[in-house]
Subunit: 389 residues, 2 copies
């Protein structure tokens, strides 16, 4: 049975990616103005954190996410950390995070000396389940002086981080209702979802802040990079100040009015980002074509489903995913190794955060759906170039 | 008197920088292989944190600093933070730092939830004074179970950060003796001193770790960038692990064995660094020529001295500095503004850390020399290109 399954999954994948060549999980495509813009940086000597591309990239990111402001930083992890600090997350607060996410979502909470509190996901979106969140808070939380307090730990639950897994939108309307009920700040982790839309609106602007990532395997890369987008002018100014050493303006004196960070994105990285953004629409178009081809190739195969975007969504399909039927979950590693042996760079979803020893003592809701998804999910090669083959 | 002084200082500076054009404080020179190496990154798609230039830059930085290992990161501030964590600095520890330094030296301590403890500087090197440190520890510290404890606060004093100000070496031998006596880890802040030498040996390798910076105004730039160098293989491995999300090796599983950071330097930034390093000897040669020309131009001027390297040192003269005589300290801002009005980008030294409200409650030694230097010092334009005019 496992043999049949792994062979038919390999065949379906190879129907989409013909031949026997290697296919990476997500490789960047840098065929636009990257070299031209970099050359301009070098020839002008504007290579560091001030420069035309930093300003332009921030303007364009705000446009793409339909927000008013963007502040670029060196990567998504530090961008999330800065966003949480500005959101008012204090040491010993709790922050609600899906357990099914990349470790950065939880680590950024820890970097505030706060504690991640893990919430279940849903199969429909792969993201945090607002209904499960509401039920969980109903059991463990109460409002005291306008703050949501975890009765079990006595700590304030300050914020919630919905993560748009593989580019697919969390049910933000439902989450906003729950967040409002419990006075939780929403910081959207849109690291994987640049260009994804829900009901025609781009993701990233539904929380107080949204966090983007541009590392090498993202849909748009700056080498490494990140940003925080927001509609709030004061918050944008505070983010810029906090991530650029909090130097106060003066002709020559060096004063700093808070203990701040250096998270500045260099102009050369922003230059690559500007060149990449010029192709975002094309990348999305091809990645959606690729997702469509996977869906067709797997349609007739028993025992496995291709994950497709939730209703109303137009996802960027950052990483394509298949879910084995529950009865085939035991075969996940065998299937994975069969694909990898054929030079197809596939992987399981991240180990859920609550399964990592570093977070074994973190507070949590029931995480059944998360564990169920993690046991059955396999990501398939998803580079935009694969749509052209 | 102030009029005479400011005019003769302007004249002397304009003798070195002829004409009436603008001169920046320290502008990068990017006339080597920067574009070629960047093009290679883009064409090969290796733009993120893995790639040939990351490996090469690390090897070359180890060579240049005469150490065994280098780990590159996104900037000097996070490199210092990572080094302190690996040095064993724990929340509520104290770390000895000169008050006369850029704010990053103190902030990196705060980022460990530790407390900077400010130490005086000496006029001979502009850096931390080992004798003053020893006298201060003699008054306030005692050894308990092998740890240096501040009797006044009850906290452990874990480490000391000598900063080689403007590229001039701290008296490391004397500091090593004091550090050894009090069991303090030395983390060298060599952010400003790449290429400087003491008695023929490059700076950066005298502590357990040394920290470098490559931001836009440093002698070698990667846009923004930093590194930690060390002779200890285990420490190097630990630094790499801690700054790259602490992912454990596996063919496809995502596990992380500590709450770690993403401080990875992208390959494109390392590519610029490799191209820059090819010119380090030339940059140093020209910057030392420039320092020599300032020394000669100011030799006959009363009331001000050019700072020259300590005996035994061959400094990179990152930023040239003049020190007004004490009797002229009141005229510092007037002189500064006179130079700036002539399009010469000059500046005072940083506001001493203990004068910033953010660090007003930090423990400290007597800081008389630091305050005296800060009141009288002016940095002059120091770009390597100025030596060629």
């Amino acid at each position: 049975m496992a043999d049949n399954l792994k062979n038919s999954i390999l065949e379906a994948t190879r129907e989409v990616i013909p031949g026997s060549g290697r296919a990476g999980l997500h490789e960047p495509e840098l065929k636009g103005n990257e070299i031209a813009y970099l050359t301009r940086c070098i020839e002008s000597s504007w290579v560091s954190y001030l420069g035309e591309y930093v300003e332009r990239f921030e303007l364009e990111l705000a446009q793409v996410t339909n927000t008013k402001h963007a502040v670029v930083m060196v990567n998504g992890t530090v961008a999330l950390h800065a966003a949480l600090v500005v959101a008012g997350v204090k040491p010993d607060d709790e922050v609600l995070v899906p357990s099914l996410t990349f470790v950065a979502s939880a680590n950024a909470v820890s970097h505030c000396q706060a504690i991640p509190h893990f919430i279940d996901s849903e199969e429909q979106t792969l993201g945090l389940d607002p209904d499960a969140l509401e039920a969980h808070l109903g059991q463990i939380a109460e409002m005291r002086d306008g703050a949501c307090v975890n009765r079990q730990t006595g700590r304030i639950i300050r914020a919630v981080i919905p993560v748009h897994i593989f580019g697919h939108p969390v049910r933000m309307k439902e989450l906003q209702r729950v967040a409002s009920k419990y006075n939780l700040v929403i910081v959207e982790d849109a690291a994987e979802s640049l260009g994804s839309q829900m009901n025609g609106r781009p993701l990233g602007g539904d929380g107080l802040m949204g966090v983007l990532s541009f590392n090498g395997n993202k849909i748009v890369t700056t080498g490494e990079g990140g940003a925080v987008v927001t509609n709030d002018e004061e918050i944008a100014a505070r983010l810029k100040h906090l991530t650029t050493t909090a130097k106060t303006p003066h002709a020559y004196e060096f004063n700093h009015d808070e203990i701040a960070y250096n998270y500045r994105m260099p102009n050369i990285n922003a230059a690559v980002g500007c060149a990449q953004l010029e192709h975002l629409d094309d990348f999305i178009k091809r990645k959606r074509q690729l997702a469509d081809r996977y869906a067709r190739a797997f349609a007739a195969i028993d025992g496995v489903q291709v994950f497709t975007e939730p209703e109303g969504a137009a996802s960027n399909y950052w990483l394509n995913a298949i879910l084995l039927d529950r009865s085939n979950a035991d075969a996940r590693n065998e299937v994975l190794e069969h694909l990898i042996a054929d030079k197809l760079q596939c992987r399981p979803v991240w180990t859920p955060m609550h399964k990592l020893p570093i977070y074994e003592s973190a507070p949590r809701a029931s995480l059944e759906v998360c564990e169920d998804i993690a046991a059955r999910l396999i990501n398939l090669p998803s580079s935009p170039c694969l749509a052209e083959i």
